[in-house]
Symmetry: D2
Subunit: 435 residues, 4 copies
Amino acid sequence: MIPRYSRPEMVAIWSAETKFRIWYEIEAHACDAQAALGVIPKASAEAVWKAKDVTFDVARIDEIEAVTKHDVIAFLTHLAEHIGAEEARFVHQGMTSSDVLDTTFNLQLVRATDLLLADMDRLLAALKVRALEHKDTVCIGRSHGIHAEPVTMGLKFARFYAELDRGRARLVAARAEIATGAISGAVGTFANIDPSVEEHVCAQLGLTPEPVSTQVIPRDRHAMYFATLGVIGSSIENIATEIRHMQRTEVLEVEEFFSKGQKGSSAMPHKRNPVLTENLTGLARLVRMAVVPAMENVTLWHERDISHSSVERNIGPDTTITLDFALARLTNVIEKLVIYPDNMLANMNKFRGLIHSQRVLLALTQKGVSRENAYTLVQRNAMKVWEQGLDFQTELLGDPEVRAALSEAEIAEKFDLGYHTKHVDTIFARVFGPA
Amino acid sequence: MIPRYSRPEMVAIWSAETKFRIWYEIEAHACDAQAALGVIPKASAEAVWKAKDVTFDVARIDEIEAVTKHDVIAFLTHLAEHIGAEEARFVHQGMTSSDVLDTTFNLQLVRATDLLLADMDRLLAALKVRALEHKDTVCIGRSHGIHAEPVTMGLKFARFYAELDRGRARLVAARAEIATGAISGAVGTFANIDPSVEEHVCAQLGLTPEPVSTQVIPRDRHAMYFATLGVIGSSIENIATEIRHMQRTEVLEVEEFFSKGQKGSSAMPHKRNPVLTENLTGLARLVRMAVVPAMENVTLWHERDISHSSVERNIGPDTTITLDFALARLTNVIEKLVIYPDNMLANMNKFRGLIHSQRVLLALTQKGVSRENAYTLVQRNAMKVWEQGLDFQTELLGDPEVRAALSEAEIAEKFDLGYHTKHVDTIFARVFGPA
Amino acid sequence: MIPRYSRPEMVAIWSAETKFRIWYEIEAHACDAQAALGVIPKASAEAVWKAKDVTFDVARIDEIEAVTKHDVIAFLTHLAEHIGAEEARFVHQGMTSSDVLDTTFNLQLVRATDLLLADMDRLLAALKVRALEHKDTVCIGRSHGIHAEPVTMGLKFARFYAELDRGRARLVAARAEIATGAISGAVGTFANIDPSVEEHVCAQLGLTPEPVSTQVIPRDRHAMYFATLGVIGSSIENIATEIRHMQRTEVLEVEEFFSKGQKGSSAMPHKRNPVLTENLTGLARLVRMAVVPAMENVTLWHERDISHSSVERNIGPDTTITLDFALARLTNVIEKLVIYPDNMLANMNKFRGLIHSQRVLLALTQKGVSRENAYTLVQRNAMKVWEQGLDFQTELLGDPEVRAALSEAEIAEKFDLGYHTKHVDTIFARVFGPA
Amino acid sequence: MIPRYSRPEMVAIWSAETKFRIWYEIEAHACDAQAALGVIPKASAEAVWKAKDVTFDVARIDEIEAVTKHDVIAFLTHLAEHIGAEEARFVHQGMTSSDVLDTTFNLQLVRATDLLLADMDRLLAALKVRALEHKDTVCIGRSHGIHAEPVTMGLKFARFYAELDRGRARLVAARAEIATGAISGAVGTFANIDPSVEEHVCAQLGLTPEPVSTQVIPRDRHAMYFATLGVIGSSIENIATEIRHMQRTEVLEVEEFFSKGQKGSSAMPHKRNPVLTENLTGLARLVRMAVVPAMENVTLWHERDISHSSVERNIGPDTTITLDFALARLTNVIEKLVIYPDNMLANMNKFRGLIHSQRVLLALTQKGVSRENAYTLVQRNAMKVWEQGLDFQTELLGDPEVRAALSEAEIAEKFDLGYHTKHVDTIFARVFGPA
């Protein structure tokens, strides 16, 4: 976790305080269920709630763990210091440490995901606003980095919206993957604890009982979860890269917002660098790097080994914190993005009409010229524009073979920008629903 | 693609013949839609279907491509050789190569996924059969590779079933991710082709129109797809590893089926190695290695670049072929797995009752011994069993402090295996539904 | 392996024919050494060489393997068909299959590496030629995609040369990593075969005996090998990306060579896309994807398991074939790269002198202006150029506070391009040695 | 960075205090060199050293950065607070931020590597001690998890020693990769700073001048560096996995040291779990997950973009801290590993002589039995041992066809363990040098 790429609300989910609080709630709810079954005294279960408003002392628990080398035992020992040894002896009965640890980890992931979903909602809202704002702002579409045919800036925002909207749906599915809990005992057989305890605890925490756990909740769930974050990270990189491209000196169709006090370079005061989106490109790599270890974690020996744990202590907090920060940063970039429609038009005209070549090609074909011949006709005029800096429309008008098929008006009509944007509303309706 | 790890039906999906067949169908359906719009002559559209029963000549197309250096143009040139240059000139009108390539790739992935789903159904069926067969076959549960408490072999199968059943559901979602097509032209604006063409072609092929494409279908879809395969691959590794563990000489609770002619080792004729599940462990790595490049593919420059293409030429076929093979191999392993219940019992008794330690611990606690004291009592007897080879029950019976809390009968009852399996039916009902 | 991204010499290294040839040579050399020790009859060892000119029948061996399910036994059975069962019974004595398989795999990797080294030599040569050719071709240096200060095209080539020269040195080290062989028997103890056999076979094949093998050669060697290829692949991506950037329409400082018959787009005949370097970007991902599975392969159970094998059957050929192709393709791109020095100059002047801002900043500081004030002075003029399209030198000349510190001549001198290239020879000497 | 998996010396290298200290030294040394060239006043250079004993105020620098949004400018502003604005105006002259940042990052990596090398020396020493101690402790060698032929525990340690000794050599090479510095200005041309400044600063810091930098030091170096750490991490996993296997209940040939107060399980007091080596397995994944992003970092746009930076802020500290911790933990595990030679012998005899099957096979062949027939003879006796629990030597003695070729004494000789260990000294001499 890198403080500069962290936001406090997400960091808090992963604090020791939050963790111990959840441990406490699991134990307390489990006692309630055990008492309802008559397994432990009702009074003892009630006594556990005496610690309801306690903020557990992380340093003290660490101190105990230094001796016991076992974190849950350390916590239970500390809990007994609050509720009394007599009542405390029924706490955790029939449970194994992983019942607490795994249910807690999943609950933290669920809460982290709820923040991420809210992040995505803000980002989607920002993208929609900018999409509608620039629905008809024409700019050149590029394939292979080379001018192709016109699109609009709104279409770019709309496709990023659609991509992240898919991401949001995937995240909802990923949340369901890890919204389970398990209170099933040493090897998952409920030998020492009734399944109804698991049901009660899960219901209280907003989780679903894991259908079949061993000592642990199966890690294919977490693999799917982190894979989903990796895909969302990759979409962030996709959007960030588009902005970086559009901001480069020769293109300059957009710029990240540049605040007053900001210095772009210690050496070159004129520079305005797309540092936020470059940063997002790197953050995407950090989000993505959790995917493979999360998949390697799926294989545990027999009913469990603990190899997954150190991995999750890292990727649990780091990946959700980084993605939360990245989504918020990208939202900020999108909301404040400075857009230069004039530069977009200027760039589009850089090659004097060449972007309309396909329309001419089609027109020739429709007039009965064979595809092969039409291609040759268009290409020979295109090459003159490309190599000699001439104007495409002028060249076509002066080419007798072209003119044999197309009139001056017919040629001119092929250079109309509106031709390219006529279905923008259709596409917007697909993405955002009917206007 | 490694022939020894391939099955013909999946390989066929990725053949040049299949690819050109799909290209043809896309072009032919697009012509129908164009003709319906009046954009091209109905007769020309009908003429395209003259090639309906043609098997396209891959070598000839390659030959043309060597000159044009463009695969779709090469195909169209060859198609014209079949239907005549006159009629052929309307084929592909208003479309761009990627309309064909991307829609084809997705259709191949959809078909591959249908095979994978059928594979998973067979594997799930096999797991269910074995789970029911061994529902009550008791064996020791192990955490950290160390004996813990009893489980049943059926529970192992049941949890693998549950894990792969989640995998199947994920695969259904992944199929929906990539079941889209696009016929939207050079930069996705439908400038030269009406959206209704896309709708018609997609409907004919069982695909959904991509809401907003550029030149290409967005690659976050494919990232999610391959990530899903990676998770399924990881689950295969999980199951394979369990079998490898259970087959090791000292454990020998299961064995892969060993056919008559088979030789385990050129040097050691007695060896029966779990080579199939070891192989599956490696195949899982191959499936998983596609995940990161698929995520790197999400970022394309502007309306597209072609960096993703070489990656997909590899991972499209290789990953689906490998996973198909792995699922089939695992099904075979599960169906024929030789299970040794006697060895399971023998292993369980290896430490003379120690696996029942927790029950004794709980019993002591319930009789009013403090948790700390109970732990000490159990551990000191456990250590004698561990270090001196004594019998746990005998030691407990001879420990006055234990006996002060527990009678002989109460101690004996703690060594009953049935105690551990009493909720197996509950768990089976969760996984397979009510019996 | 994708045929279109393969070259025959590298493919041949990985053919079944080559593999069986190497198996044969290992067995024959081992027989020589065994005969020299008196372990097997000299006549039998000599008899093995009767097959010296045989091309082994791959189909026949496959047929036998279908029965034995063991590839080395299948080969030995077939070898006996050539040299006679009587003599054949001494072949492979004391050896285990992995002695043959692992030594063969390493020898194939060594040969593949020799091709890769030759590829890199050609690429380095091409880069050096272009570096020297364009040592003084000035173009703008860019950080964050934004104009910074002038560099030369030669410097770009020189740094790619230096990067790949490091890659070459790494590849030499990687070759040494995997240039070992092992003939050490079932678990590496030489129980049934004298270490001198290993020494003889390795010496004949140009390999070093593995100091301590188990049944297999340790896989940390291969992890390091494939990691090295991954780094070289990443350097290829780095160079490819630079070219893609420089070819984009608005920059157009270089172009991949565009041959006569080539068609850039089925729809837009004017397009010249950097498809080779885009392709290289994808191929780099394919090379890199072998790194993680090769690292996962390091962990084998006890004296070996076979999980690594399926991974290596894939990444052994695929990664070396892809990298070989990529290096050759990049060499071709570099050799034929079309460079537009005029466009470089035009781009450099796009912001009317702003790139010289730092020099002015320094000059002000040296004249006693505080760093803070100098920064403010430069930035306020820079912002006018940026926002109002004015000329930087003109603005500076007209700013009284600037002129209080700098004369007209002093200002003019700051706009000299030669200032930026004065150390190019120094850098070239560092990279290529003294001229 | 996870505190529980961190050691203070490595953490200190990555503290803000250390970072600013190195920044300071770079600036001060650069001033010296600039003064020597006469570019700045000698007195100003000397004045910088007034801050020689200052511990820079991290909070204050962060405060300034919150305004400037540029870390190096913030530091320089703070430095001026210590040495006076007048003298401070010559600091950083001609340099760009990355000159400081990149040189610092590499110096931190160099120092981190020196700690890692010391860690590896301790680990190697521990492995050597245990290898010599157990050179002749015989245990069964296993392939595929199945008993093969005898090895010794010392051989296991020796091969881990050899593997990590290779790792150490790779780490030395990796250190050389990143032991470079660059003071070359905005785009690496030395336009505003003489190359001798770079030479002086690097010499003072123990670095080599980067032959050709842009704004940054090329990232192929760091890719190679982190790839090397990934391979070492994989070797740690390899060793950890061996120990986990050997500790499992049914094998129990080794155990991690189990201290007095330690509790293996909150539920099962008898458990002694290999939690340290399981943890190492997870830590290896964390080390390895840096490899791919480090490779993705190689591609920077033109003369640099800043996408690599956020990645390195994470993997720089996290990966070196984790690996440092893992090496130390593994050293501790090796030093204290409890080894049970009696259990090794008991396990070896589990299958009543079957592990000697190959020796019998060879003996039969040498007596003139054809390979095929010998195989059949051995296998039929082996199968009786396997399936009916008989003794291999007894069965062979009672098989007339075997006895036709081998005498009783000849058969007995095949069951001598010393036969398998006769070359252990040879192998040790290869690994550790002549005794």
